[in-house]
């Protein structure tokens, strides 16, 4: 980013400092900045690419989450403190927050010269709870907002000034955005449609050659999926997607979700174009829809609360809307402004207390995961299904990608080279998922349905951790004293090169240190719980 003046430089500094302050608070309270399962997943996926011993590979970027954040985090995770505390994410999103403020100021300044509006927009954006959350943690949203606002800024210039260089720049940012969150694919489509319509109307057909620039990110993702996972659509067709919460809901809900997503995405990014006196009510339409979205989902589909964050980008653009509204009569504008502010506060409050309820002071699955990287050579056996869940763990695991090796370990983990086995708990429906989609000899199915298998398993493995986070529960079993098992392969596997006993001893020490060092003390006893 090239700063245009010292004000932009200072604004960028404010964004970085803001992230640092929030991260510091999280560190002091929690000992890390992971605030959700997703935040740990993002860090581990990044780490799996570069600090995973012989298993380090780009393919570990995976197929479900878009790769931009993971690529940016990967080199930072090489530094252990940044990795284990999640501060790698703070660095990336701190810079993104600075960038957001700079482009927010550019958009506002482009629309109006009023300083009070500019400062008001910045304060409004920073006052959102979600801004705080995403600025300091390894999440994708802040990066998305950065690419989104920069893309909108240049698209706005293209639209108003008929400037193709600005469309090209906008295309570059949207390209990066489409590699950050899927929601951007709608934005890219909206921009392309708008651009093509404009150029055709002006009879400049040759400029249609520029239309593809925002779409290359999606193409790249198709190529990646095809090349690495054998199916260009594997990111959508994978079991992971099926496990994703919104696809588990009814068809009606999916359609509603997609419709609202498209509406919010499209309208919010086009918001600045409506900022004329005549069209002012249209400018706030997305925000009103957003508020309705909050109400409908809170009332009916509480499980989908997390999707609210897709409307998060609206926060920064609220005040420019208000400027337009100020030209309306005082009474009307006051009511609308009040509604907007209320929707920001209420929605961010809902998200923080609902989805990110373990924001402060509550250990979740992320804490379990934080420990895992300390065992660089440990091997963890994970179920075939639920890569979404698996990605909460480092990649020294055996999973479906390991093919036959995973299948053998899955049948008889006690005869394989695994140190830990993760078994997701859950109701009948969840177990059924594993039976239907995995091989019949999958260890999760056997664990719950095959008594003799389970007995043998528990003879070799003991429950060491039982953690809950949000909707999921995981049970971590560690191998009993290695000498009691006959896992000769474990000891002599040159590829893995680990020693179970050392790892287990180290694991226990680390766990104890972790609990003891928690500023809030031991909140709940989870180790050694029954099954």
């Amino acid at each position: 980013m090239i700063f245009r003046n010292s004000f932009e430089r200072r604004l960028f500094g404010v964004g970085v400092a803001y992230s640092a302050v929030v991260a510091t608070i999280l560190l002091l309270v929690n000992g890390h900045v992971f605030t959700s399962m997703d935040s740990t997943s993002h860090t581990y996926i990044a780490a799996a690419v570069v600090r995973n011993g012989v298993h380090s590979k780009f393919a570990n970027i995976g197929t479900v989450w878009l790769p931009m954040l993971h690529i940016l985090l990967a080199p930072l995770t090489l530094f252990k403190p940044l990795y284990s505390t999640g501060l790698a994410g703070t660095i990336v999103n701190g810079i993104a927050t600075g960038g957001v403020l700079v482009y927010l100021s550019r958009i506002v300044t482009y629309i109006t010269d009023r300083k009070d509006v500019l400062y008001g927009s910045i304060i409004l954006f920073l006052s959102s709870g979600m801004t705080a959350l995403y600025a300091a943690t390894p999440m994708m949203e802040q990066l998305s907002i950065f690419f989104g606002l920069s893309g909108v800024y240049y698209f706005l210039r293209y639209w108003k000034e008929d400037s193709m260089p600005d469309f090209v720049l906008s295309g570059a940012f949207i390209f990066l955005g489409t590699l950050t969150r899927y929601g951007f694919w709608f934005v890219a489509a909206a921009f392309v449609v708008a651009m093509v319509t404009k150029e055709l109307r002006r009879k400049r057909q040759h400029n249609l050659a520029f239309f593809h620039l925002p779409l290359w990110g999606g193409c790249l993702w198709f190529v990646w999926n095809g090349a690495i996972f054998g199916n260009p659509f594997s990111f959508f067709a994978s079991k992971t997607m099926e496990l994703s919460v919104w696809l588990q809901t009814s068809l009606y809900s999916r359609v509603l979700f997609l419709g609202v997503l498209l509406l919010i995405g499209g309208l919010s990014f086009l918001l600045p174009f409506f900022l004329t006196r005549k069209n002012a009510p249209l400018a706030i339409a997305p925000a009103v829809v957003y508020a309705m979205y909050v109400i409908s989902y809170v009332g009916n589909l509480h499980g989908l609360l997390s999707n609210l964050r897709y409307g998060y980008v609206l926060f920064g653009l609220l005040l420019p809307s208000i400027v337009a509204l100020r030209r309306m009569n005082k009474r009307k504008s006051t009511i609308v402004v009040a509604l907007l502010v209320l929707s920001v506060i209420v929605s961010s409050g809902f998200v923080l207390t609902g989805v990110y309820s373990d924001f402060l002071g509550s250990p979740g699955v992320q804490e379990l995961s934080v420990d895992q990287p300390e065992l660089p050579n440990a091997v963890i056996l994970l179920p075939i299904q639920g890569i979404h869940d698996m990605e909460h763990y480092p990649k020294q695991y055996l999973d479906a990608y390991d093919g036959q090796e995973w299948r053998r370990a899955s049948r008889t983990p006690w005869n394989s080279n695994v140190d830990f086995v993760v078994i997701p708990a859950g109701g009948e429906g969840r177990i059924k998922d594993y039976r239907d989609s995995g091989p019949i000899d999958g260890f999760v199915w056997n664990f719950f349905r095959n008594e003799s298998w389970r007995e043998t398993f528990l003879h070799h493995f003991e429950l060491v951790d039982n953690v809950e986070s949000g909707r999921a529960t995981y049970r971590l079993y560690k191998r009993l004293d290695a000498s009691e098992t006959n896992s000769t392969s474990a000891r002599h596997n040159p590829k893995r090169g680990f020693c179970c006993t050392d790892n287990l001893a180290r694991y226990s020490v680390l766990r104890q240190e972790k609990w003891d060092s928690r500023p809030l003390g031991r909140i709940s006893q989870r180790i050694g719980g029954g099954d």
Partner: protein, 407 residues
């Protein structure tokens, strides 16, 4: 094995070439202060060399017209048209068009009797010259340039004590290959040239609008007898701690009208650049300046390696997909080699996309915006360049290979 090793070098060269496209386009180059134009007495005498060979009448007329339109004091511009002995047609065209110049300028036609390609012709003209000038500028046939170009370059040289100055040179054509060359030169002028100048303080000059302090050439013993004497001369100027400048002015030159003509032109440039690499490496100058020359000079090597690398890479991929990874040599799946494959795959997709983006970024908002659809064909053009790079390895260094601009 050699193909696989080639991939390693190819990645490095391709990445280095891609890095040149990171520069933002259309950065302002140096502007001479034309608000304070020196009086006629203060302006120095200028020598203008116009080497011509197998030209068509329009090409001669185009360059002479541009020279006639210059706002430089007429009495201080000494123009020398140079033709090869035996090239009677060109000589005849010059005679037909010289009235454009002789009415105002000191114009002479020099017939080169000593051969030696373009460099030989210019050295011959310099030897014959008895007018003492501080600077000289070179134009080719078919050059169309702005009326204040020479004035701008002289003032810039005087203000900054530059030894070599270049305007932006655009090669324009109406054919498909001509349009693609236009795009290529556009990127060169608005991105790469300013980038090299800004980062390294040097750049390889090209023959159109090539402005040089005359004493520098004379100290070097004249222009070097190579296929790209202009670029080689730039290396010598840099080695003597010479100062370079870029002027905000344009030269338009007709692109080769046929694919064959462009192929010949590429062969000459590529071969010339390969010679320049050796010269740059063996010449004593700071490494920063060397890098400024080597980055553009490696372009033919990048093109040369690209084709076999992509063939190898695609073959590798297909074999792995169809026959399984066991058909691949074990060392190719080692942790040391696999990153190169990823790197290669990234370049294949992101690298090419990025360069297409760079092309489009460069022409957006310019007079060439209408060429945007042709930017999408750029990968085919690179394939063509790769084949030309192969050919250049077998090209001799003695035969010049004139660019065909027959219209």
């Amino acid at each position: 094995m050699s193909f696989a090793v080639d991939l390693v070098f190819s990645n490095i060269f391709f990445t280095a070439s891609t890095a040149l496209h990171l520069a933002p386009p259309d950065r302002i180059t140096e502007e001479s202060d034309l608000t304070q134009v020196p009086t006629n007495d203060q302006l120095p005498h200028m020598l203008v060399l116009v080497p011509l060979y197998n030209e068509v009448p329009q090409a001669v007329e185009e360059t002479f017209t541009s020279l006639a339109n210059q706002n430089y004091p007429k009495e201080k511009l000494h123009i020398r048209g140079i033709v090869e002995d035996g090239d009677d047609e060109t000589k005849e065209y010059v005679e037909e068009s010289k009235h454009l110049l002789t009415d105002y300028y000191d114009f002479e036609l020099v017939v080169n009797t000593q051969g030696g390609m373009k460099a030989g012709a210019m050295n011959f003209a310099l030897d014959q010259e008895d007018v003492d000038t501080e600077y000289m500028v070179i134009y080719d046939g078919d050059d169309d340039f702005e009326a204040d170009q020479i004035m701008k370059m002289v003032i810039l040289a005087e203000e900054n004590d530059h030894d070599a100055i270049m305007p932006r040179v655009y090669r324009v054509g109406e054919s498909l290959s001509g349009k693609l060359l236009t795009l290529d030169t556009h990127v060169w002028n608005t991105k790469i040239l300013p980038f090299l100048y800004e980062r390294f303080g040097v750049f390889p000059q090209s023959g159109e609008g090539c402005f040089i302090r005359r004493s520098v050439v004379e100290e070097a013993g004249g222009f070097p007898h190579t296929l790209t004497e202009d670029a080689m001369m730039s290396v010598d100027i840099a080695a003597n701690d010479g100062s370079f400048g870029l002027v905000e002015s344009r030269v338009y030159e007709q692109a080769p009208t046929s694919l064959k003509g462009q192929f010949t032109q590429r062969l000459r440039w590529n071969r010339g650049y390969l010679t320049c690499i050796r010269h740059t490496l063996t010449t004593d100058m700071p490494w920063r300046r060397k890098l400024g020359f080597l980055l553009p000079f490696i372009a033919p090597i990048t093109s040369l390696l690209t084709l076999p690398t992509w063939i190898f890479f695609i073959g590798f991929w297909v074999v792995a997909l169809v026959g399984g990874i066991q058909l691949i040599a074990p060392w190719m799946t080692s942790k040391w080699y696999v990153p190169f494959l990823y790197w290669s795959a990234s370049l294949a997709f992101l690298g090419n996309v990025f360069i297409i983006y760079s092309y489009m970024q460069t022409i957006a908002g310019t007079d060439f915006e209408e060429y945007a659809p042709y930017a999408l064909l750029a990968p085919l053009y690179w394939l063509f360049l790769s084949i030309a790079a192969f050919g250049s390895v077998f090209k001799g260094t003695k035969k010049w290979g004139r660019t065909d601009r027959t219209r």
